[in-house]
């Protein structure tokens, strides 16, 4: 490349770099600095430096531990379920037939709609039997003579009700990514496998799966990060209740900043969360490399 091309290349990258610096890196650095000061939400200036006091208060608060545990359970449940469901849908709809294409659209549709709107709708679907009416799911259960369920109003069921809704909502996008990977696999490989006498399962196990493994890792990583950022669904459907069973880390941060008006504490929680998400992403990346090296 000559000098002129270097300059042109730099000019092309510069706007993106400037935006990332301004809206991603600077806020991250700012979060870490704010987390070691006493500072209220509306204070125009930082209060005194307080070292790790905000972090100590954070780890002393049982609500933070609870929200971290809820978020972990949610992520551990959503990631395998959603990835598996997305793969099943991708295999099922990987065909030019119009009926399969219609199915593909209907599975993809929830990802296009607003999560807020979907949360409101699902709250109505999950509504328990009450004096003035019954939600759709409980109506179906009652119609089938099965016991009705409290769903969102039970501390034991609420998080799982949100897991199911989130899997349904998110699987469509992952399905599209899997579909793209499936369509990259050359047909000759299946032909060769069939000539060697491989049945459908062996074709899937030895042709499809190895070919889409890198995509699967990508999907798992993206889903993990999305799942860890859980906020909208419980905030709208349960407000973190009942009895704190659906409180997420992001809601904890929001409440620390805007209710407790404690920016120092909120930034400490944000910093801990940031480090945790980074560590998980890096761990997954390393795992991917190990698997790739083995192949």
């Amino acid at each position: 490349m000559n000098r002129r091309e270097h300059i042109t290349a730099f000019l092309f990258v510069a706007p993106a770099c400037a935006l990332i610096l301004l809206f991603v890196l600077w806020p991250v650095v700012n979060t870490f600095t704010t987390s070691v000061y006493q500072v209220g939400l509306t204070d125009p200036q930082y209060g005194p430096f307080c070292g790790l006091a905000n972090y100590r208060a954070l780890f002393d608060d049982p609500a933070f531990g609870r929200s971290a545990a809820n978020t972990a359970v949610f992520t551990l449940a959503v990631v395998p379920l959603q990835t598996a469901l997305a793969l099943v849908f991708a295999l099922w709809t990987n065909s030019p037939a119009w009926s399969r294409r219609a199915l593909r659209v209907s599975v993809f549709l929830p990802t296009v709609l607003s999560l807020t709107v979907l949360s409101v709708l699902w709250r109505l679907l999950y509504e328990p039997a009450s004096l003035s009416g019954t939600g759709l799911f409980n109506g179906l259960l009652a119609g089938l003579h099965l016991p009705t369920q409290p769903f969102l109003t039970s501390p034991r069921q609420a998080l799982w009700a949100i897991v199911i809704m989130s899997v349904w909502q998110g699987a469509g996008l992952q399905m599209m990514i899997f579909l793209a990977a499936l369509q990259q696999i050359p047909a000759e490989r299946y032909e060769a496998a069939r000539l060697d006498g491989a049945g459908r399962w062996h074709q899937f196990r030895h042709v499809t799966l190895p070919a889409i493994a890198p995509t699967a890792f990508f999907v798992v990583m993206v889903t993990t990060i999305f799942a860890l950022k859980l906020f909208v669904q419980p905030f709208i459907m349960t407000r973190g209740g009942p009895e704190g069973s659906t409180m997420s880390v992001v809601q904890y941060i929001y409440e620390a900043a805007f209710f407790a008006r404690d920016l120092g504490l909120a930034c400490a929680a944000g910093a801990v969360f940031f480090v945790a998400v980074c560590l998980i992403a890096v761990a997954q990346r390393l795992l991917l490399r190990v698997v790739e090296d083995r192949q």
Binding site: G40, T42, S132, G133, R261
Partner: protein, 434 residues
């Protein structure tokens, strides 16, 4: 790069720069002093009325060289918007404040006291609930043009046909036992004996609607210092009052969640625990015959809720005396109160303003006025109000679903106390305690 593209690029940049410069060019009358006003975005009729009030102010103050400019922000984001503007030092001169925010914003030094501007005639003419709402640690920070009232509506066709005569006066408010008896009585005749709007998405509804149970039983939400919660929110009086409230759900007299946001208008509910804001829609519901009664008492005193949007001067206001003129105009019975109250249906905030509203001589509005003049409590004004209200609302939601009252209130108290303790350690404007 081809020449044509270069010309295009230069032209484009020039247009962008020109457009940006245009945005910055505010109307520059050097003689006019602009007072900036921020308000929440209400219903369309309300916003229109607000604009008219401000236009009339500008007309009347043209000779003085004053001009008010109002900006509306969506209701849900209004408080966050103000908090962020405060941190960046870009608050307007005059701020609309939702009642419960008076405590946090005054404690954070975001508002400045207005005692010096409020003449005694004005102070005496205001509803006492509005003076209380605007007072934080002995100083007055806000005044509002209107207030709210919380009552129990009843369906005459269900309630009176079953031989019940609900009271119309505060002094005759039912006791909790009388109320439960009445609900049991109408239970066979109504799908929902009592509608409590437990599906409300805001935390504030719960604190607004059910704190009167605690006050009526002699309890408080938070200590007088505004920072003691443990031992106060979970006191024996409060536990007893909230247990009585939990009876409603356990005896299936009210539902802890609801698929129907408005069963009363549909004729499904016998009683509806809600505010003045539902009155106009009930009045326009065909075939609905209803009456209004005060909240039942859990203890020896009748208590009811109050609180609404009010006006204050911000920390960044450079000319408080000129800005006060805007608030004074907004509180003027004819210029400010009449147009806004006609648009939003709230209760006028000044005694003298009732002369313009003859409907307050008769039921049901007579009860709204009577409550606000004698028994209304605003929610507590404390720096930690937002944590307190969210903890209390969370506890009430769980209690309605069957959680143990004592445990839920204790956990709520502990979670709010944690915030209060950190507030206590913090230096700054919040430390100016009397």
């Amino acid at each position: 790069m081809p020449v044509r593209a270069r010309i295009f690029l230069v032209g484009f940049v020039a247009v962008v720069i020109w457009a940006t410069a245009q945005c910055r060019r505010a109307p520059e009358d050097t003689d006019t002093q602009v007072i900036t006003v921020w308000a929440h975005h209400g219903r369309e009729a309300e916003n229109l009325a607000m604009r008219r009030i401000i236009d009339a102010f500008n007309e009347a103050h043209r000779a003085l060289g004053l001009r008010a400019e109002i900006t509306f922000f969506p209701d849900r984001q209004y408080a966050d918007k103000v908090s962020i503007a405060s941190a960046s030092g870009s608050l307007p001169d005059v701020l609309e404040v939702d009642g419960p925010y008076v405590g946090p914003w005054a404690a954070e030094g975001l508002l400045q006291p207005i005692d010096d501007f409020v003449r005694s005639e004005l102070r005496d003419d205001m509803l006492p609930s509005l003076i209380q709402q605007g007072t934080f640690r002995g100083s007055l920070y806000t005044l509002g043009a209107f207030d709210s009232a919380l009552v129990v509506y009843y369906n005459r066709d269900i309630v009176e046909k079953n031989g019940l005569m609900p009271p119309g006066r505060l002094d005759d408010a039912w006791t909790w036992d009388q109320f439960l008896d009445a609900l049991e009585h109408v239970k066979p005749h109504a799908a929902v004996p009592l509608s409590l709007h437990m599906d409300d998405q805001s935390d504030e509804w719960f604190t607004y609607a059910f704190s009167p149970l605690i006050w009526s039983n002699g309890g408080r939400l938070i200590g007088a210092d505004g920072l003691t919660v443990v031992g106060v929110l979970d006191s024996p009086e409060n536990t007893a009052a909230i247990r009585r409230w939990q009876d409603l759900f356990q005896r299936k007299l009210a539902e802890p969640t609801s698929t129907n946001p408005n069963p009363f208008a549909a004729g499904l509910a016998a009683f509806d625990w809600t505010g003045h804001w539902m009155l106009p829609s009930f009045e326009h519901t065909e075939g609905l015959r209803f009456g209004v009664m005060p909240l039942p008492r859990t203890g020896s005193v009748a208590a009811c809720a109050s609180g609404s949007w009010c006006w204050g001067l911000s920390r960044d206001c450079d000319d408080p005396a000129a800005s006060w003129l805007v608030i004074e105009w907004l509180l003027d019975p004819e210029q400010g109160i009449q147009p806004i109250v006609r648009a939003n249906g709230a209760v006028p905030g000044r005694r003298s303003a009732f002369a313009l509203f003859p409907e307050y001589e008769h039921m049901p509005r007579r009860l709204f006025r009577e409550q606000l003049e004698s028994a209304a409590h605003p929610r507590p004004r404390t720096a930690i109000y937002l944590s307190l209200t969210s903890a209390f609302a969370r506890a009430l939601r769980d209690i309605a679903l069957g959680a143990d009252v004592q445990t839920a209130l204790r956990q709520a108290a502990e979670s709010a106390q944690r915030v209060a303790n950190r507030q206590h350690d913090k230096p700054g404007p919040s430390d100016n305690r009397p």
